[in-house]
C-alpha cells in the first residue's frame, strides 16, 4: 500500500484524517498514485491536477523523502521507499497567499 498525506483542505473534502493508503497497480509513479487517490476519493478530482490537461495545479506540490518531485515527469518512478510504503507521498499546498 502506498501512503499518501493530503493537505488539510483536501482531507476535509475527502472526509479523512491523517494519512490515507491506496493500492497502486503497476509501477508506482506520481500519475498512478494520484489516479488511485482520485479513484478512492472522487471528490478530489480536479483539485490536485487540472481536469482537462492532467497537469499539476500551479499551487500544488508533491514531496517525498525530503525531495520536491513536483516538476518530475508524472510517469517517473517514485522513490523506492514510497513504493515500499516506508515513506509517504506528500501532496502539499504551496506556500503562497494569505
Amino acid at each position: 500500500m502506498i501512503r499518501v498525506v493530503l493537505p488539510p483542505h483536501l482531507r476535509t473534502l475527502a472526509h479523512v484524517s491523517g494519512e490515507v493508503q491506496v493500492e497502486v497497480p503497476g509501477e508506482v509513479t506520481q500519475r498512478h498514485v494520484l489516479d488511485a487517490v482520485e479513484a478512492r476519493f472522487p471528490m478530489l478530482v480536479g483539485t490536485m491536477r487540472d481536469r482537462g490537461t492532467g497537469r499539476r495545479r500551479a499551487l500544488v506540490r508533491f514531496f517525498a523523502c525530503e525531495e520536491d518531485l513536483s516538476n518530475e515527469s508524472p510517469d517517473a518512478a517514485l522513490p523506492d521507499r514510497v513504493a515500499r510504503g516506508e515513506e509517504p507521498f506528500l501532496v502539499v499546498g504551496a506556500m503562497a497567499g494569505g
Binding site: L10, L13, T47, V60, G93, A94
Partner: protein, 371 residues
C-alpha cells in the same frame, strides 16, 4: 413568515445569518468551508432549503456544494466545468489573443420554477447549466461562441460572467452580464445570444459605444416589470425599459456614478439602490462615509441613506453580488463590505444596523425569506 436567512460568501468561507421577521437580532453561523473563497451562495426560489455554493481557491480549484436542508449539511456535487467543443480565443489585457481558460464560478442562479435546474456563470466567461441539482454541468455554448467573443476582454477582476437573470415571465429569456464584454440576452433558453449594449458609453474602450467591450458590473430587475433593467456599469448607472435593447443613463445627482452593486426594492419597482464609490482608481466610498443611495423615481433623483452607517473614517467597498433584498412586507435590504461588515435595514433603507462586523472580506450576500 418566520424569518430571513442571509447567505454571506466571503474570502474565507460561508456564513449564514438568520433572524425572525423583526430582523433585529441575528444569529451568525459559520464559517462553512473555512479558508475557501465563497464567491457566491444562492438558494432556490422553489425550496429555500436547497442552497448552492461556489467554493474555490487558488490552490485546489473550483468545487460546488449543495445543501438540501438549509445549510445544516452539505454534499459536494460535480465541479467539472469543461468548455464544450473548440475553445476559442478572447483578447487579453494587452490586446493579444488568449484561449479561454476556466478559473472559477462567480455566480449561481437557481431556476425560479424547477428545483434541480441551476445556472452557473464562469470566469473565463461562459454559462453552464445543470438540470439535476448540480450533479452534471453542461455549457450553453452559444454565448461563448458568439461572433463577438473574440473581442471580449477581461476587466481588472477577470473575464467573469457575474450576473444571471432568469426572466420571471418568459421562461425562454435569460439575461447575463460579463466584465468586460457587456450585457447579453437570450430569447431561446440560452441557445443563441445577442449583445444588448446600445446606449452604453464607456470611456475606457477605444470605441465608447461599441457593440461589446463594456464593463457592466451588475444588472437588476424587478419581477413585476421584466422589461425594465437597471445597470451599474463601471461608470454610469443605466436603465432600459425594453429588455436591454436600449439603455439610458440615470446617474442624475449621484455624487459619483462608479460602483458595483445595484438592487431593486421588493415591492416598489421604481425604487433602486446603489453604493457609489469614489472612482475606478479609488475603490472605496467617498469622503470616508458609507452611504447607500436610493432613488424612488427609477433613477435620476437620489437620496443618501446614512442612519446607522459609519459616516467618518470608512473606506470600504461593496462588491457586485454583495447586496440583496428580502420580500417581507416591509422590504429588508442587506449588503456586505470589503472589510467584513454586513449591514441590514428592515425599513427599505431608512435605518441600518450592523448585523455582524468582523467577517472576512465579503464577496456576496443573498437573502432568503423562510416560510
Amino acid at each position: 413568515m418566520s424569518g430571513v436567512r442571509l447567505l454571506v460568501g466571503t474570502r474565507k468561507g460561508l456564513f449564514v445569518l438568520t433572524s425572525d421577521a423583526a430582523r433585529k437580532d441575528w444569529k451568525v453561523d459559520g464559517p462553512h468551508f473555512g479558508g475557501w473563497e465563497i464567491y457566491h451562495a444562492n438558494g432556490s426560489p422553489v425550496d429555500p432549503n436547497r442552497i448552492y455554493v461556489s467554493q474555490s481557491g487558488g490552490w485546489f480549484g473550483q468545487l460546488i456544494q449543495r445543501s438540501d436542508d438549509g445549510g445544516a449539511t452539505w454534499q459536494q456535487v460535480d465541479h467539472d466545468f469543461t468548455y464544450a467543443g473548440e475553445v476559442g480565443d478572447h483578447l487579453w489585457y494587452d490586446g493579444t489573443p488568449r484561449p479561454w481558460e476556466f478559473k472559477r464560478i462567480w455566480h449561481l442562479e437557481p431556476s425560479r420554477t424547477e428545483l434541480d435546474v441551476v445556472y452557473a456563470g464562469a470566469e473565463d466567461a461562459a454559462l453552464f447549466k445543470s438540470t439535476d441539482g448540480g450533479q452534471k454541468w453542461v455549457e450553453l455554448t452559444g454565448l461563448r461562441t458568439h461572433t463577438s467573443a473574440p473581442k471580449w476582454q477581461p476587466g481588472a477582476g477577470g473575464m467573469c460572467l457575474h450576473t444571471i437573470i432568469l426572466d420571471p415571465v418568459n421562461p425562454e429569456r435569460i439575461f447575463v452580464a460579463i466584465s468586460a464584454a457587456g450585457a447579453f440576452r437570450s430569447d431561446d433558453g440560452g441557445v443563441t445570444w445577442q449583445p444588448i449594449n446600445r446606449g452604453l458609453n464607456s470611456g475606457g474602450i477605444p470605441d465608447p459605444d461599441a457593440e461589446v467591450g463594456h464593463c457592466v458590473h451588475r444588472i437588476a430587475q424587478h419581477p413585476s416589470r421584466p422589461d425594465t433593467l437597471f445597470m451599474q456599469k463601471h461608470w454610469d448607472v443605466m436603465r432600459s425599459d425594453d429588455a436591454g435593447d436600449n439603455w439610458r443613463e440615470i446617474s442624475g445627482d449621484l455624487p459619483t456614478d462608479f460602483g458595483f452593486p445595484i438592487a431593486v426594492h421588493a415591492h416598489e419597482p421604481e425604487t433602486i439602490y446603489v453604493v457609489p464609490i469614489t472612482s475606478d482608481s479609488l475603490h472605496y466610498v467617498m469622503d470616508g462615509k458609507l452611504r447607500v443611495y436610493r432613488s424612488r423615481t427609477g433613477g435620476e433623483q437620489w437620496e443618501p441613506l446614512t442612519v446607522g452607517l459609519p459616516q467618518e473614517h470608512c473606506y470600504v467597498n461593496v462588491l457586485r453580488d454583495a447586496m440583496a433584498v428580502d420580500t417581507l412586507d416591509e422590504c429588508g435590504i442587506y449588503f456586505g463590505t470589503s472589510a467584513g461588515q454586513v449591514y441590514g435595514s428592515a425599513d427599505s433603507g431608512d435605518t441600518w444596523q450592523a448585523l455582524v462586523s468582523d467577517l472576512p472580506p465579503i464577496c456576496s450576500v443573498e437573502a432568503q425569506v423562510l416560510p
